[in-house]
């Protein structure tokens, strides 16, 4: 039991530590819906992984990254407003995933675990994926911090100053895709974006600089994982939703305290 909890804790912390800083970018660039779309499509990755009998984590990462690329290409064509496009893709992908899963008669899939996450089901292999993916994402985030931030602040200025704007934008989308794919096990496809957005939003109240906001977001995410696991252990509540409830509580506390928003 203790080993199970430890593994859940280590996995959860790994995910939250990366999801927080990247979540700051999701908040700044208003990419929440983009994240949701990728997350919803992850279920399709699970179904494909079973159908083709390949590693599930690998299938999810490939599908999320692939979809991110498709989105970038479609956005450029400007066939339809971006949020409409995202709405179509998000729910089509989710439904397609559910339909695909229903064809897998000979395999029992715990659908709830994929939709809402199950921290306690984390395996040793999952931990490797989380920490492998996490290190890659954090390294890229730190290395390209300034271009990523310059792009977020003002794309045109960044472009005139000579930043490779298109490449950086793509990088950011791919980073979000990888984090979502890896984090899906923890809080599930329906809740994963909340683990990116809520800690970052809470962190805004406490920060004066982008670096502070990203760092606090990671810390707050980790606190939420600890709190959620603790609640789950004590009251036998589902782990994924417990983590999100905990993050939401932190948000409420931060915004109801008479903390001076630093100007």
């Amino acid at each position: 039991m203790l080993e199970l909890l430890m593994r859940a804790l280590i996995g959860g912390l790994g995910v939250a530590a990366v999801a927080g800083p990247l979540g700051a970018f999701v908040v700044w660039r208003r990419m929440a819906y983009f994240g949701d779309t990728l997350a919803h499509s992850a279920l399709l990755g699970v179904a494909l992984g079973f159908l083709l009998d390949i590693n599930l984590n690998f299938a999810i990462v490939v599908l999320c990254v692939g979809l991110a690329l498709v989105l970038v290409a479609l956005q450029k064509k400007q066939i339809i407003a971006t949020d409409t496009l995202l709405g179509i893709l998000a729910h089509s992908a989710l439904s397609l995933g559910l339909v695909a899963v229903s064809f897998l008669d000979n395999i029992r899939i715990d659908l709830m675990a994929y939709l809402f996450g199950d921290l306690l089901a984390i395996s040793q292999t999952d931990l490797y994926w989380i920490y492998g993916g996490g290190v890659v994402v954090m390294t890229l985030l730190v290395t390209f911090w300034r271009p990523l931030l310059a792009l977020t602040v003002n794309e045109e200025l960044a472009k005139v100053e000579g930043y490779p704007v298109e490449a950086i934008r793509l990088l950011l989308m791919l980073l979000v895709a990888v984090v979502i794919a890896v984090a899906m096990k923890i809080v599930g496809v329906l809740l994963i974006t909340s683990l990116m957005i809520i800690p970052a939003a809470t962190s805004r109240k406490l920060s004066q600089t982008p670096v502070q906001m990203a760092t606090f977001a990671g810390v707050l995410g980790c606190l939420s994982v600890c709190g959620g696991l603790w609640a789950s252990y004590h009251w036998d509540t589902p782990t994924g939703p417990s983590v999100v409830v905990c993050a939401a509580l932190l948000f409420l506390i931060a915004y109801s305290l008479p903390l001076r928003r630093i100007q």
Binding site: V27, V153, K159, V160, G162, R204, M213
Partner: protein
């Protein structure tokens, strides 16, 4: 002839079936201020975006000489309120910036006291100065300014135009800017280009002012006196903030400090 920085050659831009710009020729030189004027929807911003490489021309070409290094000051700065950002950090985002240059540049544009302020709380004039500082930190040979005095009151506008002129003289850079307020800007402009989808007229401010095409676009009957172009010879000195320095000052026949 001073060094050429960039040339716009027979630029044409078409959005769908709408011809926004056609046959625009402008050459930008070092040390020269070129002001682009024209009514709303005349394609001023589109032309500037073409020079910056943010917009591909449908026809014609943009020649960027080796000497060209652009410092761009956009019309507005919108930063998402969820992004905490101080003036210092905003300027630190310039590609390849030397952090040591930030403080002197803030001094130059007159806002050294705002170094640690959040960008969201700056006033209109302070924001324009911040954007100018960012453009300068890119070590430009050409400053490209899209309505540099937007949201600034008249006395502030004069200060900012004087600042731009001072910077031009100090760096010997070219300046290419869009403006609405003709009489304020013309005093310090070398060449005025008046466009409305095509170049209506261009030349020195005095020349353009008298040109029939200019009058047709901007002339309001009976408004000649109230919109008189400020074209007197400078017979007094300004300090850094644009105030007239009284010492040793002789009033000239055209000198009108109230309009200043």
């Amino acid at each position: 002839m001073s060094t050429r920085l960039a040339e716009l050659q027979e630029i044409g831009i078409r959005f769908g079936d709408r011809q926004l710009l056609s046959n625009i020729n402008i050459t930008l030189h070092q040390g020269e201020i070129v002001t682009l004027i024209g009514p709303n929807g005349s394609g001023k911003s589109t032309l500037i975006r073409t020079l910056l490489g943010l917009q591909e021309p449908t026809s014609g070409k943009v020649i960027r000489h080796n000497t060209l290094r652009i410092g761009y000051m956009p019309q507005k700065l919108h930063i998402d309120p969820t992004l905490p950002l101080t003036v210092k950090h905003f300027l630190g985002l310039v590609r390849g910036v030397n952090k040591k240059d930030i403080r002197p540049t803030l001094n130059k544009v007159g806002i050294p006291h705002l170094e640690n302020s959040q960008v969201h709380v700056l006033s209109g004039g302070e924001t324009q100065r911040l954007l100018l500082a960012r453009a300068l930190l890119n070590r430009p040979t050409l400053l490209v300014l899209d309505e540099p005095v937007q949201g600034v009151d008249v006395s502030g506008q004069v200060e900012i135009y004087n600042l731009i002129n001072t910077i031009r003289q100090e760096l010997n850079c070219g300046v290419f800017m869009i403006s609405h307020d003709l009489h304020l800007v013309m005093a310090q402009t070398d060449t005025v280009v008046c466009i409305n989808q095509h170049v209506c007229c261009s030349g020195s401010p005095q020349h353009v002012k008298g040109h029939p095409a200019y009058k047709a676009l901007f002339g309001i009957p009976g408004a000649d006196e109230s919109l008189a172009i400020y074209s007197h010879q400078h017979d007094h000195v300004h300090d850094d903030s644009g105030e007239v320095v009284e010492e040793g000052h002789v009033h000239g026949p055209n000198c009108n400090h109230h309009a200043h």
